[in-house]
């Protein structure tokens, strides 16, 4: 499917004033895209959720969900929460404590007019898709965080939402949940986009097709993970992207990154597609090939050098992009500046290896 054929699940221009706080955010989710709204506490993320959910009417702008205008002050349009076609996975999940898991998931279809038996069949099917069928008769009070999350997702999906909104998922959406979620989405409807609201950069980088960074009520940067990670636009973004993220295939501790490049990891158990994260502080830089016990070393060109408070972030280019955080003294001693070739080394134990979702 090309972009032009894909429907817009969300097209929002949100303006809200609350006392001295001004929120002004533009958001778009196209097709099955996952957009992550990333920002620190107090940036206005929860106000965005409230505005989308219809809890807080916007003061100006327009919110369109799947081609239906749901909030537009200029035309006095306001569609109540229940008719917005959103599937919201709330912070703390907000499951109905007095109902079984099955009835929690059946609640939506039933509220939208399905007969009880039909709603329950549908609920069972969605739970099955999310690998939570065995939880059906349990009480939400007896679920672990991860189980509650699956149930909350199932409950949101059961109403066939046009947009799935995750409000600060407490338990990180782990690889398995994401795989199940993707399968469920494919099965339920082709065009359910997802908006994830979070302050957790790791979550953002793992999930996002697009990241929208919001700070102090304003969008400060938007782009894909790569763009945000390598070209942070503000100190906040730079600080929170303090993680190198590489994709590759693991086999007995050797990670192949493509083009014949390999890294050694202490983790020898994980096999198959992986996501590797390396703390920039763990990357050591040298002027010449180092005589070190570190198992990963390579020479690379310095692309950029940026001051980050008391540390300096060095962006390395070929053979793969990587950031290293070093002291200002090291920058001087190694004469680090764009264009210079340096040696980088990383200990195998510093590679965090996690299975990728596909």
């Amino acid at each position: 499917m090309t972009a032009s054929e894909q429907s817009r699940q969300l097209d929002a221009s949100i303006r809200v004033s609350r006392g001295d706080f001004e929120l002004e955010v533009e958001l778009e989710v196209v097709g099955q895209q996952t957009v992550v709204l990333l920002g620190p506490n107090g940036a206005g993320k929860s106000t965005v959720v409230d505005a989308l959910a219809g809890v807080c009417p916007i003061d100006a702008g327009r919110i369109v969900v799947d081609d239906v205008v749901v909030d537009e002050p200029a035309t006095a349009t306001f569609v109540p929460t229940r008719l917005r076609g959103l599937g919201i996975v709330f912070q703390q999940y907000r499951l109905f404590g007095q109902m079984s898991v099955l009835d929690n998931v059946a609640f939506g279809p039933s509220a939208q007019g399905a007969r009880r038996a039909t709603a329950r069949r549908r609920a069972a099917a969605v739970l099955e898709l999310l690998g939570a069928a065995e939880l059906a008769s349990r009480s939400p009070r007896d679920l672990s965080g991860g189980q509650a999350q699956r149930v909350a997702i199932a409950r949101a999906l059961a109403v066939e939402p046009r947009l799935l909104v995750f409000d600060e998922p407490l338990a990180a959406l782990d690889v398995e949940v994401r795989a199940d979620l993707r399968r469920a989405l494919v099965d339920i409807s082709a065009d359910t986009g997802a908006l994830v609201i979070t302050h957790d950069p790791t979550e953002a980088f793992l999930l996002a097709d697009q990241i929208v960074v919001v700070e102090g009520g304003r969008v400060t940067q938007r782009g894909d993970s790569e763009a945000i990670r390598t070209r942070p636009a503000t100190p906040y973004v730079a600080a929170l992207t303090g993680t190198n993220l590489l994709r590759g295939a693991a086999h007995t501790g050797v990670i192949t990154l493509g083009r014949g490049l390999t890294l050694h990891a202490a983790d020898t158990h994980t096999v198959g597609p992986v996501v590797v994260t390396i703390d920039p502080v763990a990357v050591a830089l040298h002027r010449a090939e180092p005589n070190t016990s570190a198992r990963n070393k390579w020479s690379s060109a310095v692309v950029a050098v940026e001051a980050l408070g008391e540390r300096v972030r060095v962006v390395l280019g070929e053979p793969f992009e990587l950031v290293a955080d070093v002291t200002p003294a090291a920058v001087e001693a190694l004469d680090l500046r764009p264009g210079v070739t340096v040696w980088a080394s990383v200990k195998a134990t510093e590679l965090q290896v996690r299975p990728a979702s596909n």
Binding site: A53, G54, V55, P80, T81, R82, L83, R84, L86, G87, I88, F90, Q92, R94, L95, F96, G97, Q98, M99, F107, G108, A111, Q112, R155, A156, V159
Partner: protein
């Protein structure tokens, strides 16, 4: 078994004495009552016409009053807890008034409003032929008037403390306000609702002043247990004792039943 260790400070003598007097004040009348109960004649005493009639009227009127209090009181509590409207404080004060008002005054007020010549009573009589005073319906109205505040306050408290987020979640799933109220809000406050219903019922069961003022004291029609006890004290002390015993037993059972749900949690 090991010797029990003293793990608390000694109770100050003054407090201990005063507390004991407090217990005595409540316990002595109860003991006095129990001592005087004619246990051997209890069966025949409790099966007399007067007692059976009073039991029946009390049971019907208190259960009906509890039901009516629930039907009207729960929506009222919801309104007070969840909606901001002009005069909310005044409404809340008015609704709770019967808790502090002398019941006789409540009964008099009912009489002036709903009596045969009352502001509402007269047109009601003219239009429908319904006459409340000195009827079983009147007993139920008087009981509800006095009992409903207990339910409203209990339920309103629970609603104010309950998690609104869950209701927002239900709304996002497409549920109407009424459905949310019925299948999410009410189940969440069920323990408090139960406590409120039982409290209202117990208050209705013990109602005296408003009932006697508004509905009179007609055996078989409006004479409830408390009224029958009061009358019997004049002419048949044993019957009064037997009925008193029934009331004490019921009240005690209610309090024990509420123990965990209500007062420990406060």
């Amino acid at each position: 078994m090991t010797a029990r260790r003293r793990t608390e400070e000694r109770t100050p003598l003054l407090l201990g004495v005063l507390a004991s007097l407090g217990i005595a004040l409540v316990a002595i009348p109860l003991v006095g009552l129990l001592i005087r109960v004619p246990w051997s004649d209890l069966g025949s005493l409790l099966s007399s016409d007067v007692v059976l009639d009073a039991l029946r009227i009390s049971l019907i009127s208190s259960v009906a009053a509890a039901a009516l209090s629930t039907l009207l009181g729960v929506p009222l509590a919801w309104l007070l807890a969840r909606r901001r409207f002009r005069g909310r404080r005044v409404v809340r004060a008015a609704v709770t008034l019967p808790m502090v008002l002398p019941p006789v005054v409540g009964g008099a007020a009912l009489l002036f409003a709903l009596g045969r010549r009352g502001v509402v009573g007269e047109p009601l009589d003219d239009l429908t032929g319904v006459v409340l005073p000195f009827s079983l319906a009147g007993v139920i109205v008087a009981n509800t008037f006095v009992a409903m505040p207990f339910l409203v306050l209990t339920v309103e408290g629970a609603l104010s403390n309950s998690d609104r987020g869950v209701e927002a979640a239900a709304a996002s799933l497409g549920a109407s306000s009424l459905r949310i109220f019925w299948s999410v809000t009410l189940p969440a406050i069920a323990p408090s609702l139960r406590a409120g219903i039982v409290l209202a019922w117990a208050r209705a069961l013990g109602e005296f002043g408003a009932t006697v003022t508004f509905a009179g004291n007609l055996q078989g029609r409006t004479q409830t247990l408390p009224l029958a006890v009061f009358v019997s004290l004049e002419n048949d002390r044993d019957a009064a004792l037997a009925m008193s015993l029934v009331m004490v037993a019921v009240s005690f059972a209610v309090l024990l039943g509420l123990r965990d749900r209500w007062w420990n949690s406060r």
